[in-house]
Symmetry: D2
Amino acid sequence: MALRIGVIGTGMIGTDHIRRITQVLSGAEIAAVTDANLDLAKQVAQDLPDTEVFGDGHDLIGSGQVDAVLVTSWGPTHEEFVLAAIASGKPVFCEKPLATTAEACRRIIAAEVSAGCRFVQVGFMRRYDAAYRQLKAVIDSGVIGAPLMYYSAHRNPDVPSTYTSEMAVVDTAVHDFDVARWLLGEELGAIRVLPAKQNSLGGGLKDPLLMVVETESGVLVNVETSVNIRYGYDIRGEVVGESGAVALADRNQVDLRHAGLRSGGVPADWRERFAVAFDTEFQEWIDTIASGSEPVGPSSWDGYAATVVCDAGVRSLATSERVPIVLGDKPALYRN
Amino acid sequence: MALRIGVIGTGMIGTDHIRRITQVLSGAEIAAVTDANLDLAKQVAQDLPDTEVFGDGHDLIGSGQVDAVLVTSWGPTHEEFVLAAIASGKPVFCEKPLATTAEACRRIIAAEVSAGCRFVQVGFMRRYDAAYRQLKAVIDSGVIGAPLMYYSAHRNPDVPSTYTSEMAVVDTAVHDFDVARWLLGEELGAIRVLPAKQNSLGGGLKDPLLMVVETESGVLVNVETSVNIRYGYDIRGEVVGESGAVALADRNQVDLRHAGLRSGGVPADWRERFAVAFDTEFQEWIDTIASGSEPVGPSSWDGYAATVVCDAGVRSLATSERVPIVLGDKPALYRN
Amino acid sequence: MALRIGVIGTGMIGTDHIRRITQVLSGAEIAAVTDANLDLAKQVAQDLPDTEVFGDGHDLIGSGQVDAVLVTSWGPTHEEFVLAAIASGKPVFCEKPLATTAEACRRIIAAEVSAGCRFVQVGFMRRYDAAYRQLKAVIDSGVIGAPLMYYSAHRNPDVPSTYTSEMAVVDTAVHDFDVARWLLGEELGAIRVLPAKQNSLGGGLKDPLLMVVETESGVLVNVETSVNIRYGYDIRGEVVGESGAVALADRNQVDLRHAGLRSGGVPADWRERFAVAFDTEFQEWIDTIASGSEPVGPSSWDGYAATVVCDAGVRSLATSERVPIVLGDKPALYRN
Amino acid sequence: MALRIGVIGTGMIGTDHIRRITQVLSGAEIAAVTDANLDLAKQVAQDLPDTEVFGDGHDLIGSGQVDAVLVTSWGPTHEEFVLAAIASGKPVFCEKPLATTAEACRRIIAAEVSAGCRFVQVGFMRRYDAAYRQLKAVIDSGVIGAPLMYYSAHRNPDVPSTYTSEMAVVDTAVHDFDVARWLLGEELGAIRVLPAKQNSLGGGLKDPLLMVVETESGVLVNVETSVNIRYGYDIRGEVVGESGAVALADRNQVDLRHAGLRSGGVPADWRERFAVAFDTEFQEWIDTIASGSEPVGPSSWDGYAATVVCDAGVRSLATSERVPIVLGDKPALYRN
């Protein structure tokens, strides 16, 4: 039996996930959709077999035709739908952010803790990328000794005119924060955001930014965001350990020798770079949920931690001062 | 509606494709299975929902529950099942070889030509590998000028004790032959097989082999098979053109710096190297068949050409003499 | 006529330069040597043809047999010998540091300015490394746009037990500071030194260190020193520009495929990494001096700037606070 | 005392070696020059201190002012000057070819054998290249097991209009033949030269060529010459062993990321690729000769073997047939 998924939010990211579930992956189908723009939801449903359109996310969550919920609506609405899914006892996959404030995240955590089990998975898809997974495997093997520094660079060819300097922290670096927590297996303790010399191609944005983050044990995490760098979408990562170092490799499929150069391609955008990671993320989620298990991917706690780090980062962006990151105790539900 | 596939042959490769179709890909289901060992087929069917076990491949092909046929049985049986599928007007995906003799391949071609459309796709999965596809895209772009030479190396860590020197041509190099034909867009005209100094780890096999193949237009194709090379599964390819060259890139996910070395992994085996290519091959086939179109992947003609080249290669292996490759005219059905 | 060089200081670095000048390069000879330990100087002279031993650096500088002076004595003595050479009107190559205090450096600068021409070259040999030169050429070509960030990593397998945390700034990172000034073509304006999680292999040293340096125009320069990293001597550098990035390439001579890995060597130490740069540095100096020109390599100003940056770095190391770097006006002699 | 070298032949290659000896290397000087065009020799001598011009190579060889001889004259004159140097008991460095016929080479060998010691070194400079040396070190270490195949590719951007197809064997591939003999430590036994599809940029030359060479023990050596490939001067080499493989690494100094590509430079020509190897070759020769030892570099036997292999290659070029290579017994003087 295919897992019957209900999708709340049929915008760009929602329809991409619908395409993934129906045309690429196995084991799930789109049973229901809704959107703040109902016409959009209806249009999406037309191309799908047996998909019901609901007027509202709460009705969709409550439907007996829906086994699991995918939240891809506007960020400020995430909290209410995630809480509703938890209340209905249904697994919910929520695209980042889990919620737009730390308080909202804490309410979600409280609901899960009170229910006594995990329902929520947050869409930090880098943890599903084969290269990041191998990076983590090398760290965990101990071959480079204890990690001491981590360099993360997030380079984007360009951004829309609506992009603000704060978004470099909240929308861009948030992935670097999450992957740092996951790779290093510990929480972040403080952040300082330093603007580099301003890129004249960035229309007044503070870009690039260098974020110097400290983990609880003292590992320095260096996050660069360069969001107008034109040359490609280039995601870099290197962990410096006590006796070795390990980095994401470059990813060109072919080496071309032409006109005095040996060259390989750099990915054009996040779709090219992370398409397979998105597929893996969803297939593993479907397989886990379909087997009746709790989700094992990024948790509400991970979503909360990301939000707290981003809040601190935004504060530091204004002053370049070091801002502590305070999470409070981690409930037992999220340990291990 | 999912495409209902019937599988003839539930051995290692058959069950792997069943896993792929049911657990990885979308749009198809396993409606029927059979195997020379019926107990094996029954066992496989037990883990699948609604899969019927047939006592015989011909019954399976004839069943109204089967939309398309997957032939993964023992090579000598391929011809009869492929012919039966064509006779039933059903699309058939046949693992290589299409048939074990050139005559058998010609009979399949005759059946398709007589039917006036393509039913058969042959399992040359390298054409679905992202790196090979980019290699072909670069060649076709003209940036390196006309191709003049192609180096292909097929290196395997080891082979079972049942592997013979002829299998280096027929089972191993056959993929290099197919990919050379596809990359260069022309037929092979002659082959000479030269044993190199014998690998002492190969138990008496003629290994490695160097095969010097000429295309019809004079491109030299250099195929190396090294099937006991221990260090990994290493598939190499470089096209030398008039003014440039392009090669498959190395594929490590991470770069490790440790103990005086910078290193990256080499794939361990063909599963690691080509897992995604197999997925892509089947998903594209499913999508094409489900849309009601003729298959567009490797055709009966491609299967036939591979068999003729292998026959010539085996003859040359015995003498190291140059052996011409004679295919005859290509029916219009396979041109385009 | 060979350039007659007098060497003050025949310790490890002095004898290595003597070997270089006599056995590797052309156009110069060792006319005179002296050392605080006169027996050592005599021993070194024994293996050289026609080399006079002087009891004192000032006598050596004054000798009519000496065309140019090489100062490789203990750091605190550099100032007096460099000043003496300037007073004698003789070119002097001084290993780093130019002098141990900023005041001493300013006295050297004043002497040169007063003389109206350059006599001094300081031993910042990275500017002579082919890879750094190509890095600079790419920046200067404009292809990556204006530089915005520069990552420099200085990784050493280990250090002697006499090495202190301050030496990571003064002896190790000093090369990164100089190369940053040279690559970017501007002065450094402030520095902040942040200890990372402490390497347990480093016997209590603050190691690794991350130094965040700001240039006058706002480029962020990130200098990592990891001096106990065991895996090799690894000098890294990447300039991030407005529309591209350029980095020092890895330097293995061969690619080995063995036991599941593709690997290349990392240099073992600075001799292996920079041997050719030292040769080039001295050959160019000899050629320039022999032709009667003023030296064109790193100047007294460069030596002074390095000392000021190091002083600021040492202060920041104690507090992790941002420390401004104040150089004062650059005399016209050093502009160009 | 500097080694006093007399140079016979002051054309392009001769003057380049004179520049190297006088301006780059240490321990030698140009004491004498001559050339078939005496005016040219006089002009070259004008820029050198204390260099005598001789009217004739034999006079130069006989001069008491000359310790060692460098033969860079026209190929057909090599034999007489090398024989004269041997007769005078003077070390002689002879650019390739040692002589233009196998018979002439044998006369040189006979003269050396009769004298009982080596005087001659032949200019196969690849043996002095750091990457080739490391390739040989890896082979000799045994880490890849016994070598079974060797791929050598010699790619040139273009050639002058006077270049003939035979020169691809005699002038170009001759370096690949020598390096194969040296890397593998054994003689070549047969050769077959196969023209690939003809490069339309090559003005009618048979280009590229694939030469399949067998060593005495059966190692297959694959030599590609592509002399009009435009993209750069690309020297490739990979040894395939029983359990591993090792290849010359690519040589870019920097990695540039720009416009969707990550790229590094390919050498433009042999000067860029082998400049350091030429320096090393001459410095080691000077040091050896100056110390009073016999030369240890490529010997008369190596020069002879190269000529015999080239003769066989030229014969095979005409027919594409396999041509045996017969050297006869190697005198004891040249063993080890």
